[in-house]
């Protein structure tokens, strides 16, 4: 995303940069905000602005309106600059050293992402001033997010980095070529067959003409002539059909092969891409790219590619031949085509609209069915069945009406079009017949003309859809290549090496945010010795799981570094690192398959004895033995055949099978009852011996065994130390512990009360 817009000469003049001052970010602020009126009158005006910019230099933050500078502040006099998300818009605020806040600009949602990045950049400079006294060490903020609109043509970008309509054309051609690269032979063969087919189709009317003119109408024709004609026509017909069948099959095969290879490539790529890429997109969107967009490519090859060239060729040749036979007749029949096209054009919008409306109505209908069925319990408990039924009936009626209206329209409109096209032929016959009668044209020529005009008009309807179909394919191709061209952020460098992990960790000034304008962790420093167990504590959303994501290197820190056994984590081979980490996450995800498959997931070569040992260590062996199929029990998709506790124990077994040096437990026992938790806790205690362990838990009792606890608050480490040290400190951790104990006490009290109540009720009944 573009963060440095170009200013005009007079704007630069108004900015009046001092020597050594450099413009770093410059983004538009598209809603009017008259900052100079702020203290007495309303600064907000209901107006779009097209020429207001928020400019950040390495010294100042400036608002430029037209050729005027309406606001400026020195960055070293600022404490915090923020882009605050409002409702449907955003405001940029500056807090000075006395903590007075000023609103300096307002942006709509169209520009808010850009503004946030620029503000984040300005804040980096402010921080640099605060820490080092100059702007030198400020990190430059860049945005990997895509624009929503194409800068050149103003069209919306379909989730791609380049516009498929402007810049992408050559690119797309290249991509299309590279896509077909492995299939050149087949493509050539298909093209050749297309040529032959259209050749055969074109030749048939020629033969027909010869037969009529030389054999039939002269009266000199013999039986031989007849046989020859029928033979040749039949041979051509059969040949064309056979070729056509072969070509269609080849196209289908080619399409499937292409879309399969794309799907494979996409799937592999998505696996390689770092989570940051995947998380930025909706999960459904990536799925769509794998399934729907590749499907579109297949459809294109099956339904369009195979016909496109041969149809075009046939139409052109037909037109040429028709003109040579009779320009007048060609003109006459074309006239009707033009009429039909004009009608189509006039009604096209209407047709499109009524069918689109029908589509929306059917969408609504199915939505409301889904709504009601999934909310059936609520509807029933509130007793509103009748009202819901009424609502549904109304929608269904509405849909039925729209549908029947549309079908009626179509049923009338389409025959009219066909009739008009037919009219062209009749007029041509009229004029052609007159010429034949007058001897200006032979009978064969007339028949030939008629056949060719059929060739010309037949596919016209189909041709009108061609641009849309091609564009659809191009868009899909673009969206696919968008993923394929993405460089994975986390990958092995040239010097990456394999290490045998001992488990010594060091965080050095680590900062990280999923969006570069929203920091989640700031300036994290701590050291972990091999074999230590570290517990992360803090309210939800403070960055505990983020910390673990960094340790697992699912993301790289934005600033600072994480050092594992003396090696920067970025210099360790990713696969090597991951093979030595055992992970149990909050959502235990089991793959469909047997318990055995799942435990063996990380190490498919593990022996049965190893599997059992891991299961025993995870306290899973007992419950597995009790199932009829033992370790061969099929767990179903996501493991739905097992209870939550059982799933979690299988996940723990999976994590330890590999004998990992690092263990990560992210709320590993969250969904369990006390007894299961106790059992798993025991398993875990056994597990963490001699391994560096990082654990997150809301139930603080889970972290009893931790050597040290790290309390995360407000994006950084608030407290660190052993359980007892932190309790003595009476800080955040102390507060959390007492609150939890209070809760526990309250809960047991209220349950007691319930029992009491129950008794009284019983007494009353008695």
């Amino acid at each position: 995303m573009k963060l440095l817009f170009t200013l005009t000469g007079s704007q630069l003049e108004a900015l009046a940069p001092s020597p050594g001052e450099k413009l770093v970010y410059c983004v538009p602020a598209d809603l009017a905000y008259d900052i100079q009126a702020a203290d007495k009158n309303t600064p907000v005006a209901d107006r779009y602005e097209t020429n207001v910019f928020l400019a950040v230099t390495n010294q100042r933050l400036v608002v430029l309106a037209g050729d005027q500078m309406t606001y400026q502040t020195k960055l070293k006099d600022c404490k915090k600059i923020r882009c605050e998300h409002q409702v449907g818009c955003g405001i940029i605020t500056v807090m000075d050293l006395e903590e007075n806040e000023t609103c300096i600009a307002r942006v709509s949602m169209r520009q808010i992402v850009r503004a946030s990045y620029a503000v984040r950049g300005a804040q980096a400079i402010v921080t640099s001033y605060q820490e080092f006294g100059d702007a030198q060490r400020a990190e430059e903020v860049t945005s990997s997010e895509y624009e929503t609109y194409c800068e050149k043509c103003g069209r919306a970008l379909p989730g791609t980095s380049t516009c498929p309509y402007c810049e992408g054309k050559m690119d797309i051609a290249k991509k299309f070529m590279s896509l077909c690269g492995g299939f050149v032979g087949k493509l050539l063969l298909i093209s050749l067959s297309m040529l032959v087919i259209s050749g055969m189709n074109m030749a048939r009317p020629m033969v027909q003409r010869w037969f009529i003119d030389d054999a039939l109408s002269t009266g000199k024709g013999t039986w031989t002539d007849l046989w020859v004609f029928v033979g040749i026509s039949f041979a051509f017909l059969i040949g064309a059909i056979l070729l056509e069948v072969w070509k269609n099959l080849a196209c289908i095969k080619l399409g499937s092969a292409l879309s399969m290879s794309l799907r494979e490539k996409l799937y592999c790529k998505i696996q390689v891409l770092s989570l940051s890429f995947i998380n930025k997109r909706k999960p459904g969107e990536l799925m769509n790219r794998v399934s729907r967009d590749t499907g579109r490519i297949r459809e294109f090859f099956e339904e369009v590619f195979g016909y496109m060239f041969s149809t075009l060729l046939t139409m052109i040749v037909s037109l040429v031949v028709m003109v040579t036979i009779s320009p007048v007749m060609t003109g006459l029949s074309l006239m009707f085509v033009i009429v039909v096209f004009a009608l189509m054009k006039i009604f096209w919008h209407h047709i499109h609209m009524i069918f689109h409306r029908q589509w929306i109505k059917s969408d609504e209908l199915s939505n409301s069915i889904q709504d009601i069925i999934s909310g059936m319990r609520i509807v029933k408990t509130f007793g509103t069945e009748d009202r819901e039924a009424e609502r549904f009936t109304k929608k269904a009626k509405d849909y039925a009406q729209t549908q029947s209206r549309n079908e009626t329209f179509w049923a009338v409109f389409f025959p009219i079009l066909t009739f008009l096209l037919g009219c062209g032929t009749y007029v041509a016959v009229l004029f052609g017949g007159r010429d034949v009668l007058a001897g200006k044209m032979t009978m064969g020529q007339l028949v030939q003309f008629m056949t060719y005009s059929g060739y010309l008009f037949g596919p016209l309807g189909w041709m009108t859809h061609l641009p849309r179909m091609v564009m659809q394919m191009v868009t899909s191709l673009n969206r696919i290549y968008d993923v394929l061209d993405e460089e994975p952020k986390i990958k092995d460098r040239d010097g990456s090496k394999e290490i045998a992990v001992k488990g010594h960790f060091q965080f050095e000034k680590v900062s990280f945010g999923y969006n570069s304008y929203e920091p989640v962790l700031e300036n994290i420093n701590f050291e972990v010795h091999p074999g230590e167990m570290i517990g992360f504590v803090g309210a939800s959303g403070t960055g505990k799981s983020t910390m673990i994501n960094l340790i697992m290197r699912l993301y790289d820190p934005d600033q600072g570094r994480i050092v594992l056994d003396g090696v920067d984590l970025r210099d360790v081979k990713v696969e090597n690192l991951h093979s030595q980490i055992g992970v149990v996450l909050q959502e235990t995800f089991l793959f469909s398959g047997t318990i055995l498959d799942n435990i063996r997931f990380a190490k498919p070569t593990a022996t049965l004895a190893e599997v059992i040992q891991a299961a025993k260590a995870a306290n899973a062996h007992d419950f597995i033995c009790k199932t009829p199929d033992g370790y061969n029990t099929y767990v179903g998709e996501h493991g739905y055949n097992l209870s939550g506790g059982e799933r979690q124990r299988v996940a723990i077994a999976r994590a330890i099978l590999n004998n990992p040096k690092l263990l990560i437990l992210d709320e590993a026992t969250s969904a369990l009852d006390t007894e299961s938790e106790f059992l798993i806790q025991q398993a875990l205690n056994r597990l963490i011996q001699g391994r560096t362990t990082f654990a997150i838990a809301h139930r603080l009792s889970t972290l009893r065994e931790a050597n040290r606890l790290i309390v995360i608050d407000k994006h950084s480490i608030a407290e660190m130390g052993s359980h007892n040290e932190l309790l003595e400190k009476k800080g955040i951790y102390y507060g959390l512990v007492t609150a939890q104990l209070k809760m526990a006490e309250g809960r047991s009290e209220s349950s007691l009360e319930k029992i009491g109540d129950g008794k009284t009720i019983e007494n009353v009944v008695e």
């Binding site: 702020a38 409702v87 949602m109 169209r110 609109y149 069209r155 564009m471």
Partner: protein
């Protein structure tokens, strides 16, 4: 859980947390109203509004509408300006405040809420799965783009519509029936 208590060996009658938490939760439940008697709003130099409420002073407050689409001048929640945005109190009816203070809060509402009203639809063009709108709004002439799906235009009531563009901006059409025939036709794609 009893094990935890032994383990921690804490004095649970500690005055510290419970009182405060209880107070906090009670505060959450209480309906507190700001009136012209107990609250004074004032403009700040930075374009915001400050508040004096009882013995407390707030340098900047946030103005949140609780019914922005139906009752924009009633039950306005006045909140602290930091990330937590704790509620200070509610203004039950904006009109009961002194005139100048009413104006101040209205300005803050205008600053916080951005929803242009579509006055005239010049054109809606459809191209490859997107609709390109050219409209005149209360903020001036504007071009924006929406997807073609059914949830782009939502009806708030029989005649009131909301249009959502690809960036997340929302535009209001206050009365569908007040549009001209041509405009309605253009909207047909979505309704």
């Amino acid at each position: 859980m009893s094990e935890d208590m032994d383990l921690l060996d804490l004095n649970l009658d500690d005055e510290f947390n419970e009182e405060e938490l209880k107070k906090e939760s009670e505060e959450l439940l209480e309906m507190r109203f700001l009136t012209k008697e107990n609250a004074t709003f004032a403009r700040t130099e930075g374009g915001f509004v400050s508040l004096k409420f009882g013995d407390k002073e707030y340098k900047r407050i946030g103005v949140y509408l609780t019914f922005p689409l139906t009752n924009p001048e009633e039950f306005i929640s006045i909140r602290e300006a930091d990330e937590k945005a704790k509620e200070i109190g509610m203004v039950e009816d904006l009109k009961t405040l002194p005139k100048d203070q009413q104006e101040m809060l209205r300005e803050q509402i205008r600053l916080r809420y951005f929803m242009p009203v579509i006055k005239k639809i010049m054109e809606i063009k459809e191209e490859y799965g997107y609709a390109y709108w050219h409209v005149e709004t209360s903020f001036g002439v504007c071009r924006f783009t929406t997807h073609m799906s059914g949830d782009v235009v939502v009806s708030l009531s029989e005649s009131r519509l909301l249009v959502k563009d690809i960036d997340g901006n929302r535009y209001e059409i206050p009365d569908f029936y007040a549009l001209s025939v041509q405009e309605k036709k253009k909207l047909d794609l979505f309704i």
